[in-house]
């Protein structure tokens, strides 16, 4: 087990002829604690699988180095890193029994049979695989196979980190939830560092202590689910996390006051440092309310989702979404809305402004 550290890691794939070479990863500097449950969240193509492969050693980064604890593992092969990985599609060795599948990594490392039998039994118990230990692995359902892939990582006592690359993609919805709680439970039980890659925010937010949001080859924010929700560092985090996402509106400043169009807005941070750049105001739909005075809007649509309602309104052609309670009354006409000052943030060139008021 070990802390994982990235120092100036950049990666570029060999360019396709006739195309400009671009970095799949643009400089990652991160320290991930030993024993943490991390989720790597981001849209497809943001570089999260690249980063995962760099950790597992399937890829060597073009620049920078990776440390496990105090050891530089940048140029170490996968087998020397003591990691385990569960893939999107379950990988099992079809011709072997479940027992042999679980024993396979240990046998490859020349461990004696009695020890193997002990470890396999222990892991089978953790994963509820005891009843099927002696059946052929190919006969199992997708979630059973995924448990085997996970088990092959757990049997090894020397594993630094277990990685999950969208492991629930092929699992039935009602089993997804079960398997996810199993993972969470295992993490608490054995305390090994786990990294979970996904593009599904629900999965990330329920599994992880810390969510690492990636966008366009960089890490835009690392934080707890609550931090990501209340104070997104980047407009991308704002609209990627949350459903519906954050409202991002054009803004400008006059002196120390912030304005959205002609409306003065109270914000949590300020933009009076005099620097140039595209200024935006971000506010989550949950922090907007109807009020007697404020920004005049026209109500376009109401989606009743049972426990809450999503109201879509417009102000001078900008669309703004609000989330209100199931019993709250939506005004019929000439409505006005108000932003919660503590949860309204100013962004310059997509990044949050750090100076609080």
């Amino acid at each position: 087990m070990a802390r994982i550290e990235f120092k100036k890691v950049r990666h570029m794939y060999p360019p396709t002829p006739g195309q400009e070479p671009t970095y799949a990863l643009k400089e990652i500097n991160q320290v991930w604690d030993d024993g943490g449950a991390y989720a790597l969240l981001g849209p497809s193509g943001c570089g999260k699988t690249t980063l995962l492969n760099i950790i597992s050693g399937l890829l060597t980064p073009s620049e920078g180095s990776v440390f496990f604890g105090d050891t530089d593992v940048t140029n170490l092969a996968t087998t020397e890193r003591q990691i385990a990985q569960v893939f999107q599609f379950p990988v099992v060795y079809d011709t072997m029994s479940v027992y042999d599948n679980l024993a396979f990594p240990l046998r490859n490392r020349g461990i004696d049979e009695p020890t193997i039998a002990d470890r396999v039994k222990q892991v089978a118990q953790m994963l509820d695989l005891e009843n099927v230990l002696h059946t052929r692995a190919s006969g199992l359902t997708a979630d059973g196979k995924q448990k085997i892939s996970l088990g092959r990582g757990l049997v090894r006592s020397d594993v630094n980190v277990i990685m999950f690359d969208e492991p629930l993609t092929v699992i039935d919805p009602h089993l997804k939830w079960l398997l996810r709680s199993k993972l969470k439970e295992l993490h608490q039980q054995i305390g090994v560092t786990m990294i979970y890659v996904t593009h599904d925010q629900t999965e990330a937010l329920t599994f992880a202590d810390k969510v690492v949001v990636m966008y366009d080859g960089t890490v835009v924010q690392v934080g707890t689910p609550v931090e990501l929700f209340n104070r997104p560092n980047h407009t991308f985090v704002g609209h990627f996390i949350g459903s519906p996402g954050m409202n991002i509106l054009p803004g400008h400043v006059d002196g120390s006051d912030s304005y959205y169009k002609n409306n003065k807005i109270q914000t949590a941070n300020s933009a009076d440092d005099g620097q140039a750049g595209k200024l935006e105001i971000g506010v989550r739909p949950e922090f907007i309310t109807f009020s007697d005075q404020g920004i005049p809007v026209v109500i376009e649509k109401i989606d009743d989702l049972g426990r809450f309602q999503i109201v879509t309104v417009t102000h001078e052609r900008d669309t703004i979404k609000l989330v209100i309670g199931e019993d709250d009354i939506v005004p019929s006409e000439s409505a006005k809305i108000k932003f919660d000052p503590a949860n309204t943030h100013l962004y310059r060139d997509n990044w949050i402004l750090e100076n609080a008021r």
């Binding site: 996968t78 079809d94 092959r152």
Partner: protein, 287 residues
């Protein structure tokens, strides 16, 4: 909902029935007809029952060519299947060399059978052929027109040259369909290259290998043109395989009855072996 019950849909099956009738059933029945009767020309037939079948099954000649056939098919399967797998494993999976390799591999398959026979005949001639001349000047006593061993070697090598590509291409396709995740998982599990082959590649190749073995079995068991052009079944009868023998009986000696009986026995043997092999492979699959 009301269902209309009538038998009109059967008309839609007619084209298939006609096709099967003309390309399989009617020709086969003519053979059955010949196999049960004796004819002296003029379309006169005399009932013989199973006499011809008894005669063929008891004949030393049939036993000899059947054994030769088994030996030949066995040899080429033992050589071509492992060789094909090895070649497929060494072929590149990506890059510009992929198409080069694929085209090179496909070339032998595109050459007509009798051209292959003629090529190897000239290639292996001891006095003027490149192969035959080289072997002899290196000190080997090689003459496929006179020595049974040389004739066998040449026939087998020719078949391996011609058909290993088929096994290679099938295996290559099978290997390409294995997701990268399997190899990555194997690396993480610390599997040796042999273990990767034994537990990932071979199991995933099972289906294509079943097809490859069936195809190679059927083709080689019915081989005619290439050895006929190369050795003509000689020297003596040493390379007379079943189909060469059959043609000798049917067209050389014009013994239509025994030839027809032999055709049917031949057909049943191929069918039986294929069925048994396929059933065994698929039964393993289910377990």
């Amino acid at each position: 909902m009301n269902k209309t019950v009538n038998q009109k849909a059967w008309w839609l099956v007619t084209p298939v029935l006609v096709l099967v009738a003309f390309n399989a059933f009617i020709p086969l029945m003519t053979v059955v007809n010949y196999s049960l009767q004796e004819t002296f020309g003029n379309n006169e037939f005399f009932w013989e029952g199973v006499t011809w079948f008894e005669q063929v099954l008891k004949s030393e000649r049939f036993h000899a060519s059947f054994l030769r056939q088994l030996l030949f098919t066995g040899m080429i399967l033992v050589i071509e299947v492992p060789l094909g797998i090895c070649v497929a494993l060494t072929m590149p999976r990506k890059g510009p060399w992929v198409s080069v390799c694929l085209i090179l591999m496909a070339l032998p398959l595109l050459i007509p059978w009798n051209v292959v026979g003629a090529m190897w005949n000239i290639f292996a001639l001891p006095d003027i052929g490149l192969l035959g001349y080289t072997l002899n000047s290196m000190g080997f006593d090689y003459n496929f027109t006179q020595q049974p061993v040389s004739a066998w070697m040449t026939t087998v090598v020719m078949d391996v040259w011609h058909w290993t590509s088929l096994v290679v291409l099938l295996c290559y396709a099978g290997l390409c369909s294995i997701p990268d995740d399997y190899y990555q998982a194997a690396r993480i599990d610390g599997a040796s290259p042999w273990a990767v082959f034994r537990y990932i590649q071979l199991p995933k190749l099972k289906r294509v290998l079943t097809i490859a073995i069936l195809l190679r079995f059927m083709d080689s068991f019915m081989i005619y043109t290439e050895p006929f052009v190369l050795t003509g079944g000689g020297p003596g009868n040493t390379t007379t395989f079943l189909s060469i023998d059959l043609v000798k009986i049917a067209l050389g000696q014009f013994d239509l009855g025994p030839a027809a009986a032999m055709s049917l026995i031949y057909f049943l043997i191929v069918l039986l072996i294929c069925w048994a092999f396929y059933t065994i492979m698929m039964r393993n699959e289910e377990q």
